[in-house]
């Protein structure tokens, strides 16, 4: 399924910290996990229950599940642990962990003092016999899951050299009811499926929620028989406002990287074009003037360009233009129908949906259209959404005649799995890292 060209692999490696590239190949060097390779063995890691009672065990459990789902780590079975009386204040007995071939060990201690939860942890390189990280987090006791996510991010970042994505949320559309009479409700949950809650009442069809990359704000589209509207919803204040009334349909909203603009499609007399609104002064500019379908705009991370979907060639393909609409240029030429382009937060890739015959795929390519990698294949996969570190994609998968579900895949295509959300759902979008 994967096709790596040598060139793409080298280009990807270049994004790792220089220290990692220069790392000597001798044994006993620091352990390191390479997120770019599709053929890596997950790193065996030991995550014994943190000291401090049930909450200590729960925190270790959440970290373990996070790292496991990333596909880059293989948490070891606690039943195999030899050293049982770990004390977070002293160095572990390394031979006991080497014996079960744990490459890394995370141990920690939870202290609850009044209204404060204090969690100290250390990350150890078992074979180099040294500490890689030692940190302490403080929060309220109810917030223990977020502490576990922050520790997960710290461990992931220390061992991969990339930012983590565990202390994040996912906004999506929860679906209930039969196909012809679906109720679609805007919903949000932690990235591991915990704490799901609803944001709308389900009376109107909602779709395509997208996070701002700078704030806890989303934009989404609501569809009623009278027409459609694009809304901004602040998740902290609950304040919701419309982008305004337009003649014709409005759809496909997406924030600019600085959160100051929303690009979207406006339809007039059957023809859809890409527009952009400056949220400060509410002025709208038209970016495409073409009798074809122009939709699904997505900004480059520096805000200078927009990738979008157009059928101006006769079939849906991907195009890049300046953020002012200048110089539209087609980037996809292979056979197949390309839609839903999304620029990765790192700028490295553009993710897309590709339809070839009866199959739908999620794929990534370089922004110039080269080095296409098809990551998934099914009856209906659509709508990729990037994790804030640009390493994992969420998308909707629907089987023939079945319900839509949320799935994730990493950029190598190796780690493909359903999201831990039990219900029917579509249109996932990832938040930036929480503060």
């Amino acid at each position: 399924m994967l096709s790596f060209s040598k060139r793409s692999l080298l280009a990807s490696l270049a994004t790792l910290p220089a220290a990692a590239l220069l790392r000597p190949t001798a044994a006993r060097a620091d352990i390191e996990v390479n997120v770019n390779r599709g053929d890596v063995q997950p790193l065996p890691i030991a995550l014994p229950a943190f000291g401090g009672g049930q909450v200590g065990a729960d925190i270790a459990g959440v970290i373990s599940a996070n790292l496991q789902r990333s596909g880059l780590f293989r948490p070891l079975d606690p039943a195999s642990f030899v050293e049982r009386d770990l004390n977070a204040a002293v160095q572990p007995r390394f031979p006991a962990w080497q014996q079960i071939n744990a490459q890394a060990l995370v141990n920690g201690q939870v202290t609850v003092a009044g209204a404060q939860l204090q969690v100290a942890f250390r990350l150890w390189d078992v074979f180099a016999e040294k500490q890689l990280l030692g940190l302490q987090f403080m929060s309220s006791p109810e917030n223990w899951r977020r502490v576990a996510h922050k520790i997960s991010d710290s461990v992931y970042e220390r061992l991969t050299g990339e930012k983590g994505y565990f202390d994040t949320r996912v906004v999506f559309v929860a679906e209930t009811g039969g196909r012809g009479s679906k109720t679609k409700t805007l919903a949000i949950m932690d990235q591991d499926g915990a704490n799901p809650s609803y944001l709308t009442d389900g009376k109107a069809i909602v779709m395509t929620p997208r996070f701002s990359s700078t704030s806890q704000e989303i934009t989404y589209m609501e569809l009623r028989p009278e027409g459609s509207r694009i809304y901004l919803l602040n998740l902290e204040s609950g304040r919701r406002e419309s982008l305004g009334d337009f003649k014709g349909m409005v759809f496909a909203p997406r924030f600019s990287p600085d959160g100051g603009k929303v690009a979207f499609s406006v339809e007039r007399a059957g023809n859809s074009d890409v527009f952009v609104m400056d949220l400060k002064n509410r002025t709208t500019a038209r970016l495409t003037v073409d009798p074809s379908i122009d939709t699904s705009p997505s900004f480059s991370p520096d805000g200078s360009r927009i990738v979008f979907n157009s059928d101006r060639s006769g079939s849906p393909q991907l195009y890049i233009m300046g953020a002012d609409g200048s110089n539209p240029r087609r980037i996809t030429f292979a056979s197949g129908r390309y839609t839903t382009p999304v620029w990765s937060p790192t700028g490295e890739f553009i993710a897309f949906t590709k339809q070839v015959g009866a199959e739908f795929h999620i794929g990534v390519m370089k922004p110039d259209g080269t080095d296409e990698r098809i990551l998934t294949s099914s009856y209906l996969d659509e709508g990729p959404a990037w994790a804030p570190n640009g390493r994992v994609l969420l998308f909707s998968r629907e089987t023939s005649g079945g319900a839509s579900r949320l799935w994730s895949v990493d950029v190598t295509g190796r780690i493909l799995q359903p999201m831990p959300y039990p219900g029917a759902a579509s249109d996932p979008a990832w938040s930036p890292l929480l503060n």
């Binding site: 395509t208 339809e267 939709t295 979907n309 209906l380």
Partner: protein, 188 residues
Amino acid sequence: MVTIRNAGSALRLTFIAGAALSLSACAHHPKPTYPTAAPPPAARPAPPPAATPSRPEPVTQNALPGSERDFVINVGDRVYFDFDRYDVRSDAAPLLDAQSGWLKRYPAVQVRIEGNCDERGTREYNLALGARRANAVREYLVSHGVEAGRITTVSYGKEKPIDNGSGDVADQHNRNAHTAIVSGARMQ
């Protein structure tokens, strides 16, 4: 339907008898229903005279002219499209001709053309494609003499399939433009 509460008992019965028929009128988006239930009360055949053993005269039933049922059953409220196309097919033209004729006959009627797509496309592209289909039907009706101000359009993309199956047959059903009566039709 809330008017039932204020209606007399005879009228209440009428409403209840008609309820099965007018389900589609209660929903926002009437679907083409093919009612097999009781005819409207007005058309209910009278019992044959007891004394004369003869065959009763046949009585045909029909929707009230100018009603939404009349439009749905006798004209047709939906035309179909080819994959990723929005041009009005030749087999759809007679139905749209009949729609424009009916709409010109009942000038108080306002309609909304709802463009629909099959599931073999992504959500946003399908919203755009559905808008094209709705607009193609609107333009056809306008070019055949229906006043443009009487017709609005909306695209439901792939959000409102009329056929819940998957496969070629369901996909064909779901690629359509539905002409929904918004107001001005005769009460049924």
